[in-house]
């Protein structure tokens, strides 16, 4: 879990880890440095889900590398969601489907930037459950940016705070 004031650099950190911005320092995934694999493979395995999802085609299905109806169902969507038109989606629906299309890639690491910011408590619970189950099943890691102390208490194994350009680890028991 990561927290910190707005403009502290949380998003920049996640973007650098996804290798979207030029950065210093070395990234390794299971001992393979990022520069030893194609950028496309790195980003599919270290998948960044931004706080505002973007959609470039008309239908939901066109944004999925592989159709994953069961992922969408566990986020509370009916099975025909892949046929829906993107422009009819609410912001909360977009946010959940953006998580689903990322999970469909079966990444080893998830970088989640406030994934429950626009969601009601029911859907927040669905997202938290799905991500936790995914991590257990796939043995994947998550870096989760959250402003919600309750959420951090529920989910965090470790907690870092970014402030004044520094990253500091907090005791997860006192978020």
């Amino acid at each position: 879990m990561i927290s910190g004031g707005s403009g502290a650099g949380k998003t920049l950190l996640l973007r650098a880890i996804a290798d979207l911005d030029p950065h210093q320092g070395e990234l390794r995934l299971e001992d393979v440095p990022s520069h030893n694999m194609p950028a496309t493979r790195w980003r599919a395995q270290v998948c960044y889900v931004s706080s505002e999802s973007q959609w470039w085609s008309d239908r939901v299905a066109e944004h999925f590398a592989t159709a994953a109806p069961e992922l969408c169902q566990s986020l509370g969507f009916p099975p025909d969601v892949l046929e829906w038109a993107v422009r009819r989606l609410s912001s909360g629906e977009r946010q959940r489907l953006a998580l689903a299309r990322a999970l469909a890639l079966r990444p080893r690491v998830l970088l989640l930037d406030e994934p429950t910011a626009n969601l009601d408590p029911d859907n927040t619970a669905r997202v938290e459950r799905l991500v936790c189950e995914y991590c257990k099943k796939e043995n994947a890691a998550v870096l989760w940016v959250s402003h919600d102390p309750e959420q951090r208490r529920r989910l965090a194994q470790r907690h870092w705070v970014i402030e004044a350009g520094r990253v500091r680890e907090e005791n997860p028991a006192t978020p």
Binding site: A18, D19, L20, D21, P22, H35, A39, T40, R41, R43, A44, Q45, C47, Y48, V49, S50, E52, S53, Q54, W55, W56, H63, A65, R101, A102, L105
Partner: protein, 263 residues
């Protein structure tokens, strides 16, 4: 061919003055802009008339090449000037100039050497006007397409990066912008070919007919020129967009909008 006297041109110039006067009264700076453009066209064309006269009298390859180089440099400058967001450094000038050079010069050389078969191949009466028409049209295609590509990449940064985040390649992530850019660069010449002879009589052919050439000969030259322009514009635009698309990303396929600067 009926010779135009200076008086004839002066009468036409009076019409432009009248236009500038009326436009200026209601639309402020527009009148001044019309006047300046009118003066520029007079001076520039008179000068090029003198240059061509000297060039035709002393048709040496070195002079033709020098003239061609000047035209290319100016065209490259114009392409850069018409872009709202241009690449920083030498790329801003280089991408447009290189792709125009590759397309216009190759197509002109091909037309002179293989199609028309002038002797020598660089005979300036053919080489300079052909290159001029090709460069002029290619310049428009290249500048419109590059402007469109850079501007839309800037506006759609989040969408492009969203695709990169899902493991798409740079090529996939920018493919739809690339298509639009090439399309907008090529629409003018496609329209010109479609409308030629029905809606509009192309300028080159009109000029030849006014100068007394038989219409069917003029038409044949116009068809040749249209085809050459289409190929030149097409290759130049495709080339410029391809290089720009590469330059918009780095070796790790990151979108690098920091390589663009607002004009």
């Amino acid at each position: 061919m009926i010779h135009l006297s200076n008086l004839d041109l002066a009468i036409a110039a009076l019409l432009v003055l009248a236009l500038a006067f009326f436009a200026g009264r209601h639309h402020g700076p527009l009148g001044r802009q019309i006047l300046i453009a009118g003066i520029r066209t007079t001076v520039q064309l008179l000068l090029i008339g003198l240059v061509l006269k000297a060039l035709f009298a002393d048709a040496r390859l070195i002079w033709v090449l020098l003239m061609a180089l000047v035209m290319l440099v100016v065209a490259g400058y114009e392409v850069r000037a018409r872009q709202h967001r241009r690449f920083t450094g030498a790329w801003g000038y280089g991408i447009g100039s290189l792709s125009m050079f590759m397309s216009s010069f190759t197509v002109t050389f091909f037309a002179l050497w293989v199609v028309i078969g002038t002797d020598p191949w660089y005979q300036p009466q053919y080489a300079i006007p052909l290159l001029g028409m090709l460069l002029g049209n290619t310049m428009t295609g290249v500048s419109v397409a590059m402007d469109r590509l850079n501007q839309s990449a800037w506006e759609q940064r989040e969408r492009i990066e969203a695709r990169l985040m899902l493991g798409h390649s740079a090529r996939e992530a920018i493919s739809h912008l690339r298509q639009q850019a090439v399309r907008s660069g090529l629409i003018p010449i496609i329209n010109a070919m479609t409308a030629a002879g029905i809606v509009s009589l192309p300028g080159m052919m009109t000029g030849q007919i006014l100068a007394g050439a038989p219409p069917v000969e003029a038409v044949k030259y116009q068809i040749l020129v249209m085809f050459l322009i289409a190929v030149g514009t097409g290759l130049g635009t495709l080339g410029a967009v391809a290089i720009s698309c590469r330059r918009l990303f780095d070796e790790r396929q990151r979108l690098r909008l920091d390589r663009l600067r607002e004009a």
